[in-house]
Each structure stands twice: as C-alpha cells, then as structure tokens.
C-alpha cells in the first residue's frame, strides 16, 4: 500500500514541479488568447468598454471576407515575407561561406556581423527613414552629388521603391540571423564527405550543391521558421518609415490591424483580423517544418 502511494507521489512530482510554469503559461498566453478571441465576436471598442458584452457572432469575420484593404495587405505581407526571407537566405549564405573561409579575424567579423541585430527595429526604421528621405536623405544627396541623377527620387513614396526601401531595412537588420545559423551549420559539418568528394574529383560547385547545401538546409529552415514568424508580424520598421502609406502602398497586416485597433478603437474587428492573420504564420511555420523534416531525412540518407 505504502509502495503504491509512494509511486503515485513520484508520478505527481513532475506535474507539481511543472505547475508554476503551466499556470504562468495559462495566465500569460492562454488567457489573453481566449480574451482576444472572445472580443473578435463582439463590436468591442476601446473607448466603450461595455461593448465587450455585445455578441455579434461572426459579423467581424464576415465583414473581413469582403474587405479589399485587408486582403491586399494580406497579399502584400506574403510577398514581403517571400522576398525578405529569400534575400536574407542568399545573403546570409554568402556571408557564412565567406566568413567560414577566412582564418584570421573570424571572431571579430562574427561579432561585427551581429551589430544590426542589436539595434531596436524602431531605431533601424528611423535610420532608414532619414537615409531614404527624398529631400534631405543621404542617399538622394549622394546620388545627386555623384551626378547619377538630378531628380529627388521618392524612395518612400513610389509604390515599388517604398516596398524596396522597407525590405532593404528589414534585410539589413536580420540577414545576420541566417548568417549565424548557417555558419553554425558549416562549423558542425563533418570534413570526411568533403574530402571524399574532392578525392572523387568533384569540383567546388558540385561539392557545394550536393554536399554542403543539403547539410545546411535544416539550419536554413530553422532560420526561416524563426524569421517568418518575425516578418509576418512586421510592424515597427514599417510604422516608422511609411506608416503603411502613402495611399496604403506599404500597408502590411499589422500596420492595418494597429490602426483599426488603436486609432479607430475597433478592437473587436482588429482581433478578428489578427486571428485570420495568424493563419499566415501557422501556414508558413507548418510549411517550413515539413521542409525541415524532409531536409533532415535527406541529410540522414546522404550520410
């Protein structure tokens, strides 16, 4: 009998130890999630707290389905994500390969490479807002001084240039995430297959394409998962540089949601938008995890 009690107590111990963590998670994550989900079924306005109790069913979601501005912002966010992630991956890979090759000053370079990550996104936004300013910006002044143009190029106004400028800022800040993870992959890479390939007469491209890249892909997919979550909720840089404008040309999901939720005080509608938007993050995470599993399986086979 005593033995049964002891074993039951032993079984309960992990649960007891986990209880504070579970309680914190429930309070910090689950409760706000449930609350915001509830508000998405109400016409909740920040300035009229009583509206929290008026249930309007799926009205916010139904309205969203025909809201062209929302779907344009949704599509633009997907495009923004796709471009930013691919450019960051390619640049990060290039930087990692270059740093991997040098033998002197590597540590110093690795530290310098991480500098952009250390800045707050708001500061990065301000930095690039001034660089790309059409009138007093460094870029236009440099281009005009070098005689490359006599125009004030509207970097933050023209639809394509404005998106380019924002993507540039995002890439500048976060390429090092890819570079560091891929560099870690390169450090962890066994030397034997590389040497064997060389003995078999493979050229540098073949070694890279068939041995290094498959080995690095799991690291790349981990970086992509992390960054896709980051980029899908991009707000700070865009809010500072363009505020989603002009004329909604750089409107992403979260600049739109913040405006609806805070400036217009329509938190119920904003939360409905936010729930639909999280689908995007879930979709990308699911996609990258599938790719990660596939890449690891491939790597295992290759080994």
């Amino acid at each position: 009998m005593a033995r049964i009690l002891t074993s039951r107590r032993a079984a309960l111990t992990p649960l007891l130890l986990l209880l504070p963590a579970i309680a914190t998670m429930l309070f910090v994550v689950a409760l706000p999630l449930v609350f915001s989900l509830w508000t998405s079924f109400t016409p909740y306005r920040l300035t009229r707290p009583d509206t929290l109790y008026d249930v309007i069913g799926l009205r916010n979601y139904i309205r969203l389905m025909s809201d062209a501005a929302f779907w344009v912002a949704f599509g633009r966010t997907v495009l923004f994500l796709a471009i930013a992630l691919n450019v960051e991956f390619l640049l990060g890979l290039g930087i990692a390969l270059l740093i991997n090759r040098i033998t002197w000053g590597q540590r110093g370079l690795r530290t310098i490479m991480m500098f952009p990550m250390m800045f707050s996104p708001i500061l990065v936004g301000f930095q690039f807002k001034f660089i790309f300013n059409d009138n007093i910006g460094i870029l236009n002044n440099a281009l005009q001084s070098l005689g490359l143009t006599d125009q004030a190029i509207p970097w933050l106004v023209d639809a394509r240039l404005a998106m380019f400028s924002i993507i540039f800022a995002e890439v500048w800040m976060s390429t090092s995430v890819f570079a560091i993870l891929l560099l870690a992959g390169l450090f962890a890479m066994p030397r034997d297959p590389l040497e064997a390939a060389k003995v078999d007469g493979c050229n540098a491209w073949q070694v890279f394409r068939h041995i290094m890249l498959p080995f690095l892909m799991p690291f790349a997919f981990i970086a992509m998962t992390i960054r896709s979550l980051d980029v899908a909720r991009a707000y700070d840089i865009v809010a500072v540089m363009t505020g989603g404008g002009p004329a909604g040309r750089t409107e992403l999901l979260w600049t739109l949601i913040a405006r609806v939720g805070y400036d217009n005080a329509r938190m119920g509608q904003a939360n409905a938008m936010a729930y639909v938007s999280t689908l995007l993050s879930v979709l990308f995470t699911w996609y990258f995890f599938r790719k990660l599993v596939a890449a690891r399986r491939y790597m295992g086979g290759a080994q």
């Binding site: 707290p49 933050l156 106004v157 805070y262 400036d263 217009n264």
Partner: protein
C-alpha cells in the same frame, strides 16, 4: 459633491479673475499627489518647468506618469479606458480628440469659477465644449497662416517674369488659386519648391477639410450624409493633386507631418508654407533657420467661395471623473493656463487662449521693438477671431480621418482621380455613419 469642489475652489481661486495672478492663491493641498499625463515635445516643455512653483504654493506634488506626443497619448488613453485604469487626474487633451473619450472627463464649469473662465476667448471655450460640457481648459490654440520668403516677392526679376507669365502682379497671395500659380512659378525641383503640405494621417485630412470649406463645400449634409464628394470637394482635392503632379511640392510630402514642413521651410528650400504660429520664432531665429530675417506672413488665403482656410484646434487640459482630488486638479489646470503661464508660452510664439494675453503679448513685442512677432500675433489674432473653425466635433472624427487620408493620398499620387477617391471615401464614411447610428 461636484458643486462642493466648485465652491471650495471658487474661494481658492478668487484672485484669478484679473489679468495678473502674482497674488493668486492656488489653494492648499499638502500631501496630495496628482498623477498626470502630459503632451511632450520641445514646444510644450517650457510650461512644465513652471510646475514646481505650483507644488511650492500648494504643498501638492505632481507625478508626470506619461509624456508623449498626442497620437501616442491618445492610444494610451484609449487603452486606459478599455482596461478601466483611469487612475490619473489630469491629462493633456485636444479639441479634435476630446469627443472620442465619452464621459471620462468632468465638466470643468463645475470646478472652475466663472470669473476665471471669463478670461478666455469665448470662441475657444465654445470649441472646448462637447455635448454641452466644458471637458477641457484650453492651453494654446492652433490655426495656420501663410509664411513666405519675402525676398522672393521683392525681387524685380521675379516680379517681371511672373507678370509676363500669369498676367497679374507678384505679391503675397490672397487666394489659393494665386498660391498655386506662385508655387509653380517658384518651383525648381529638386533644389527648390514652391509649396509643401502635411501629407498623411489626420493632418492631410484637416488640410483637405479646410480647403473644402474655403471652396464652399461641407463634409456632411444636415442629415449626416457624406457631402464632401461634391464639386467643391473635387476642387479642394485637385489643388493638392495639381501641385504634386507639377512637382511644385517635394516628392516626399505624402509622408510629411508637421516637423517636416516646419524644418523644410526653415531650410530655405520652400517659397510658401502654411503653418501654425508656434513656428514663427523658430523661423526667424538665425541659429535655426536659413530664412531668418526674410520671413513674411499673411492670413491664410481664400478659396473660390471667398472663405479663408482656418482649420483650428486647441491644446487643452482635462480632469478625469475618477480623480480623487478634483479641487487640486482644477487648481493645477487653472495654474497651467493662467495669465503668467500663457505669457511664457506666447513669448515663444504659441497662440494664447486668454483675451488679455493677446493684447499684452503684442504690447510687449511692440515695446521691445520685435516687429516680426508683433506682426505674427496680429495676423494670428485676426485669423483666430474671424477665420478659425474646428473639425466636426463628433467621436467618429478620427475614424473618418483614417478613412479619408489614404484616399486623399491616392488622388495626390495619381492612383485615382480626385472624384474617384472622394466617392470611394464617401462610400466608406457612409457605412461608418450608419454603424454609428447617424443614418
């Protein structure tokens, strides 16, 4: 209960009715701590340096728990309303924002004596009233007039070329049609521009709104149907579109806010600039401005309806209903808006809300030989008295603005025609007004 506060404070503030308040007693509130949320920024800070004087006089303490720009403060206040955490007493407010906040602020007529209120410009107090309640005490006002670089208008070559091109004399403009001609005449992008305007957020909608009024249009009919997509509306919006398309304004104006236009004019790269009085001292200060000593100012021009633009608002202070020490809070906001404090702000070019301060500030500028500031104050006093009008004081104004400004930008950038942009905005604004129960 509220009446009791009023009586107590009435006695405490008895000395305030006159212009000078050197002998005023601000009441006695030892041990009281006032938690306040104030608008921050270079223009607003000098007033806060006066707060220790009030603390010394009353024995109370002021704890500034937030100091942000108005847009951020607005978000914070909305979150406080939602979370029911209005645990502060005094907040900066603005006539454009106030209608949104429902009944969180008290009617100041119940705590501020009538003699004190009599010192304020009646029109400004009227603009500070929402639903019959005086929810805010005005600190300084805001209306825009037209600054220009004087030497450009005095240059004989410019005069001759302008006359030849446009058929009338080059002189400080009296109408917006003339502003358009002159802006295009002076523009030489990217080195120099004829004009500029704030191009986003509520700011560009405010500029459109005042132009709409100047063109003889209106935002809504009597029955709250959107009416801004009229011919007058199209003319108003077309003014901005034409200037942008002609490159007479900087290409970046759709991202410009107040600081950008002010600093742009001070940089000497813009001929004409519609801006508020708070910039005047800055524009004429050689340490900050390349156009110092060369700044002209005229009243905001007229639209085709013969009406001057005059979008106006006031920065104000409000007291929350939840404030446990309303008498101390009333003393505090009265102190911040009293004669002496307004004189301090007026000397820096901020437009006072007290009748006497207008006159005395002008007399002070005249006595010290500061003709520029004397001219500035005379010009702004005239426009505050004759031209100023507020946005429509309904809770939905900011939300209406958020529908309007992306459409206005779309027209300016050429994504839509002025008519299409206004029609699209009218459709959305109509839905909003339906939801809000106006239609």
């Amino acid at each position: 209960m509220k009446r009791t506060y009023g009586l107590a404070l009435g006695a405490a503030l008895a000395g305030l009715a006159g212009a000078a308040s050197a002998d005023a007693t601000w009441g006695d509130f030892p041990g009281t701590t006032l938690r306040v949320k104030l608008i921050g920024g270079a223009q607003y800070e000098p007033l806060y340096a006066e707060i220790p004087k009030w603390e010394a006089a009353t024995g109370a303490r002021v704890e500034i728990i937030s100091r942000k720009n108005h847009f951020e403060l607005d978000r914070e206040i909305k979150q406080d309303i939602a979370a029911r955490t209005l645990d502060w007493c005094v907040g900066s407010n603005h006539t454009s924002f106030a209608p949104q906040y429902g009944d969180i602020y008290i009617d100041l007529r119940e705590v501020v004596p009538e003699e004190v209120l009599a010192g304020f410009v009646p029109l400004v107090l009227e603009h500070s009233t929402v639903g019959g309640r005086l929810v805010q005490l005005p600190r300084h006002s805001d209306v825009s007039n037209l600054y220009f670089i004087r030497s450009l208008f005095e240059n004989e070559d410019n005069k001759a070329r302008f006359k030849a091109q446009y058929g009338y004399d080059l002189a400080p403009p009296e109408t917006w049609a003339q502003v358009k001609d002159m802006a295009m005449f002076f523009a030489n992008p990217p080195a120099f521009y004829g004009f500029q305007f704030v191009g986003k957020d509520e700011a560009v909608n405010g500029r459109f709104y005042e132009m709409l009024v100047a063109e003889g249009g209106q935002m809504f009919t009597e029955g709250w149907e959107p009416a801004f997509n009229s011919d007058a509306g199209v003319r108003a919006l077309q003014f901005f579109v034409d200037l942008y398309q002609a490159k007479a304004v900087p290409a970046g104006v759709p991202n410009y806010l107040w600081d950008d236009t002010g600093l742009g004019f001070a940089s000497g790269s813009v001929a004409l600039n519609l801006d508020w009085g708070g910039w005047s001292a800055f524009f004429n200060d050689p340490a900050n401005s390349k156009v110092a000593g060369d700044v002209g100012l005229v009243r905001a021009p007229k639209g085709s309806a013969g009406i001057r633009t005059g979008w106006s608002g006031s920065h104000t202070f409000s007291i929350t209903e939840t404030c446990p020490s309303k008498a101390a809070a009333a003393s505090f906001v009265t102190f911040l808006t009293d004669y002496e404090r307004q004189m301090i702000e007026a000397r820096r070019g901020l437009l006072p809300t007290r009748t006497q301060v207008w006159e005395d500030a002008k007399a002070e500028f005249a006595a010290s030989g500061n003709d520029f500031m004397l001219h500035v104050f005379s010009t702004f006093q005239a426009s505050m008295a004759e031209d100023a009008f507020t946005p429509i004081l309904i809770p939905e104004w900011i939300e209406i603005s958020n529908i309007m400004w992306p459409k206005i930008q779309a027209a300016i950038l050429g994504d839509m025609t002025a008519r299409e942009a206004l029609d699209a905005a009218a459709k959305e604004v109509r839905e909003l007004m339906e939801d809000a129960g106006y239609l």
